[in-house]
């Protein structure tokens, strides 16, 4: 490639022409960027205009119904909150533990490399495959049934790579000199992790934890494999209850032919996006607050 630079055609001097070619390229590149952004705006606009009419308190506080004007998303909303909470409780501690092991304990050998490759591959496994894992292992083999806890365990495995990645990033940001100072004072490795590394890495880890939970809220496929398409007129009250989540309720409404249900789906999507957006804003807020603090 280095040799190519010296080929004549690469620096011929038809400057006017080359600059106008450059302008054309600029226009192309910029319009391609705009495709993504305009696509996003159209998508949000379409959903907002379709869904805002049905987005009432009745919608949030009612159970699904055959009559579109009485139907609501309550069971799915509460199910999503349960699933999100349980997933966080299960995935975050183990994700942090893995990150600490890889950053602070593991020596650079073939086994560590294997774990790293394994985690990056797990991040690329389709979510429906996690659903099948949950169905075979948690629902059938461990006999949990199609319950919230089976769903949360599956979802925890699915989002764990996100927690691990963010926590490792945050742990790596802690200056090595802080660790060395503690070691010099005679701290053991665990004490260094507990009193030096974790306290400084917590904001970054929190960001990862929130992002992983927002991923869990948006996923439908693995929950469908575990919970199937159920019609629930109660809110789950403990982890052994049957459950449904917002994306599945939305899917249910989309798949009906009547326009009213499509509008309900759009209202559900608005609610789902509001939940996701506020979670992500909290994550961004924590990140920015932390960044300004460390710059001081």
């Amino acid at each position: 490639m280095d040799k190519n630079i010296f080929k004549k055609e690469h620096y011929n001097q038809h400057l006017t022409r080359r600059y106008s070619i450059g302008k054309i390229y600029f226009t192309i590149f910029f319009s391609c960027l705009m495709v993504g952004i305009i696509g996003l705006l159209i998508l949000l606009g379409q959903i907002f205009t379709q869904g805002v009419g049905m987005l009432t308190w009745t919608f949030i506080s009612s159970y699904p119904s055959r009559h579109p004007d009485q139907a609501g998303i309550l069971a799915a909303l509460v199910g999503s909150v349960w699933l999100m909470g349980l997933t966080g409780i299960l995935a975050v501690p183990f994700g942090i533990g893995t990150a600490i092991y890889l950053e602070e304990y593991a020596s650079k050998n073939k086994f560590t490399q294997f774990i790293e490759i394994n985690i990056s591959n797990l991040a690329g496994v389709p979510s429906i495959v996690y659903g099948l894992l949950g169905l075979a292992v948690f629902v059938e083999w461990l006999n949990m049934g199609r319950t919230l806890i089976a769903g949360a365990l599956t979802m925890a495995l699915l989002v764990m790579p996100i927690v691990i990645l963010a926590s490792r990033e945050a742990i790596r940001q802690v200056p090595i000199s802080h660790r060395e100072a503690a070691y010099a004072l005679g701290a053991t490795r665990w004490e260094v992790v507990k009193s030096i590394v974790l306290p400084s890495a917590i904001p970054g880890i929190m960001t990862g934890a929130i992002l992983s939970m927002s991923r869990a809220v948006g996923e439908a496929a693995p929950v469908l494999a575990i919970s199937a398409l159920v019609y629930l007129t109660f809110v789950p009250t403990d982890p052994l209850d049957r459950f449904t989540v917002m994306p599945i309720q939305i899917y249910n409404w989309i798949s009906r032919p009547q326009d009213e249900f499509r509008e309900l789906a759009a209202s559900g999507i608005i609610l789902l996006l509001v939940v996701l957006l506020s979670m992500n804003s909290v994550a961004i807020y924590i990140r920015s607050k932390y960044q300004t603090k460390s710059e001081e």
Binding site: P93, T98, N121, G131, T188, A221
Partner: protein, 309 residues
Amino acid sequence: MLNNQAEFKNKIGTGLTTRRVIAGKIAEIVFFMCAAISILTTIGIVFSLLSQAMYFFFDVSLWEFLTGTRWAPILKPQSYGVLPLVTGTLLVSGIAALFAIPIGLATAVFLSEYAPDRVRKVMKPFLEVLAGIPTVVYGYFALTFVTPKLQILFPDLIIFNALSAGIVMGLMIIPMVSSLSEDAMVSVSRSLREGAYALGATRSEVAWKVVVPAALSGIVSSFILAISRAIGETMLVTIAAGATPRMTLDPFQSIQTMTAFIVQLSLGETPHGSLEYNTIFAVGLLLFVMTLTMNLLGHLIVRKWQQKA
């Protein structure tokens, strides 16, 4: 953190007591067990898919599964040739790739080579939002917006079709192509760019003839990972591409992907041990093998390239 050394020393005690050593050992074991969960997860995936798919292959031969051209697992006479699902999957992913690869690459070039910092800071969160939208939402968008608009262009187009799903899936994977490609381009060394500028190259010449070739392996791997993501994508194709297993490469037709088939059977509670139950695991196994191969390939390309750099 260490603003008061005496206080810290007080906290950790003075002598290296047995208790502290044991606490350290326990912590190490706990952290190792956390890391082991990821390996257990992989083993769990492989084991659960294989063990259930095995029962399927007792009833249907592997050869019939992989080479049969008719997929009718529920309607009689049953037939278990998976190729229609595979072509359906590849058709939608192919359309998505045709759409997302050029646009994603151009977006990455713009963000890495043209955009001033200020513009990049505004634009990147938009792309991140695009990447964070749940896939049911994309399905809704394909079905209620893109398909009706396409029907204006092609009046014969039926409601559930591969084209609309493919285009929207392309929109969905643009951020993946653009952010991974941009990472690769940003890490191209500055001296290469400056060398080219010093020889009188224009900005677009530097981008196309220096930066893109130098970052090629990272860019190619971003394509592979994005296509693998498209192959595994579930809700979008379930909603918008239809539920008709059909051996066709015609984008105007209704098709069914591997993932959509798994969802279709999961909607009802498939009884454990039935042939339908085992069928979704056989299809899941094939899906897992396909995406795993592509992901490993993608990571391998990056790894090789990092060693060279």
